[in-house]
Amino acid sequence: MSNIILKASNLNKTFGAVTAASEINVDVAEGACIGLIGTNGAGKTTFVNMITGYLKPDTGSITFNGSDITDLPPRKITQLGICRSFQIPQLYNTMTTIENLEVSFGIIALQEMKGSLRTKSTDVIPSYGKNVKDLALESLEKYGLSAYKDQVTKILPGGVRKVLDIAMAMSTRPKILFLDEPTSGVSAEEKFDMMDMVMQVIRNAGTTVLFVEHDMEVVLRYAHRVLAFYEGKIIADNHPDIALKDERVLKYIVGHSQAQHVLAETSHA
């Protein structure tokens, strides 16, 4: 059996009268690829926000590699090895694509060199064996962003912004990566090309991935397990083929006709 690296136990979160998370229990095995599905407001992003430290659960605990991370701030959780991308890409908008990546690797350089004021972009980051500038260039190439190297990110196309957002998260070499709706805002023609490339890089890095997604074709293509959220609860936790046939998932999330269509499409593919 695979090693459990993330364990969320009895997580509860309310915002006034709204229950965003209710008795959430999830174990995540190392190397897993998990799709998080549910309608808007079902609690998917709340779950991601609690794990990544943006929200503190009202009750419950989160352990990562055996350490309690429930009350840690996002930066500490990132330093431990959990990183995320965002539904709306969170970039440094006045900076260029390469500078966005240089900041990401620069933060690691500063951490590894204990924040020394003498740290330079040309200094080799010990655990990476390369300097900030070289790592940023390598990352541009790896994610197909070289053509946008010197463009200010504010004017980048939506799909490129998504990929850059993910590339920045991956620069921390996370053990677990959360992707929040990676294909939203990406055209239907581009979404599989983009996801194939991103998932390939993630798999090569051995990173465990949990992705929030509304597009069931994407879920079926990449996820090995599905967590279905409804009104703050997990109503199904299973292999995608089984989870998407679950009565409650069909009723509240996917809809019978869409499920039949998607399952038929993917079985033909």
């Binding site: 996002p74 900076m95 003498r118 900030v132």
Partner: protein
């Protein structure tokens, strides 16, 4: 470390001014030395602006530096320029370190006004301190350089040299910080603090560090200003002093480490000329200049240099 051309030009200009300083009128030496002192304070403000913050209370550290110099000279009879300057840097740095724990939690207008509040608290304390001359302040004299007490005219050149040395050290240091990954991180925090935190950076400790650096720079600036003018009073921490520093920062721009010094020199010239022609309404001239800069050059005078460079590259 690679120096860009503008920094080399700046160092060359400082050497040239120092070389001709014996033949320059005293009032020019005064303006240039004071511009160096003010420029050091504004260099710190420039770092804040890179972070997306504006301090309306930087005069606190300027005044702390000046009073440290004055009190050490008056009470402990320490007269060496370098010792006084270093002591001022340490005291201002420590003060910034302590206040930074609180200030680094705040952003936007709250950061600006809280910094202003601390500077006005110091003003209140100094005004009530009769031993320190209350609103009149006190004078310092008998300064020495490694045991040598220059003539008053020589002292102005010595102070110019010491100021330029402090400016060069500050420029090299701040340039090193800005060229490092931390330099990019400042802009990243301004653009998207939440993302920077999610990448593992601590915005608060970065702001705290910059607060201390700016405090040290301001303390040295205050020490130099005290030695140049020979007088210290609570107005050094009054809100109008902080306002002047912000004015200089806007005038010069934040595009280069040199911009604060260019801004400070031009401010000194405008202030002197305006005061000469209209002693009672010189502030009006300053106000009009500020409006013109904001309307025509929102990125400060340095944006002209940047535009010129771009054109010559094309």
């Amino acid at each position: 470390m690679r120096l860009d051309k503008s920094l080399i030009w700046m160092f060359a200009a400082l050497c040239a001014i120092l070389a001709v300083s014996p033949w320059l009128p005293q009032w020019i030496l005064f303006i240039v030395t004071l511009a160096g002192a003010n420029g050091l304070v504004v260099l710190g403000l420039m770092l804040f602006m890179r972070l997306g913050l504006v301090s309306f209370g930087q005069a606190l550290f300027f005044c702390a530096g000046a009073y440290t110099t004055g009190m050490l000279s008056l009470l402990l009879k320490i007269s060496d320029l370098f010792i006084l300057m270093i002591a001022s840097a340490i005291v201002s740095g420590l003060l910034a370190y302590l206040l930074g724990f609180l200030l680094a939690k705040y952003r936007a207008i709250f950061f600006g006004l809280l910094s202003l509040a601390f500077s006005m608290i110091l003003y209140g304390v100094l005004v009530k301190s009769e031993t320190l001359g209350s609103t009149d302040g006190f004078s310092i004299s008998g300064l020495k350089l490694f045991g040598w007490m220059p003539e008053p005219t020589q002292m102005k050149i010595v102070l110019l040299g010491v100021t330029f040395l402090a400016v060069v050290v500050a420029l090299l240091f701040v340039n090193m910080v800005l060229k490092s990954p931390r330099g990019l991180l400042l802009t990243a925090i301004r653009d998207n603090e939440i993302r920077a935190e999610y990448m593992g950076a601590s915005a608060r400790s970065t702001i705290h560090l910059i607060y201390v650096i700016a405090g040290i720079l301001s303390g040295v600036g205050g020490s130099i200003a005290a030695m140049v003018s020979g007088h210290i009073d609570p107005n050094m921490t009054f809100w109008t002093s902080s306002g002047e520093f912000v004015f200089i920062a806007i005038l010069g721009g934040i595009g280069s480490v040199i911009a604060p010094f260019v801004g400070a020199l031009i401010f000194g010239v405008i202030q002197t000329v305006a005061y000469g022609y209209s002693p009672n309404t010189w502030q009006m001239t300053i106000g009009i200049c500020l409006i013109i800069v904001i309307l025509l050059l929102p990125d400060g005078l340095w944006s002209l240099v940047a535009k010129f460079r771009k054109k010559s590259n094309v």
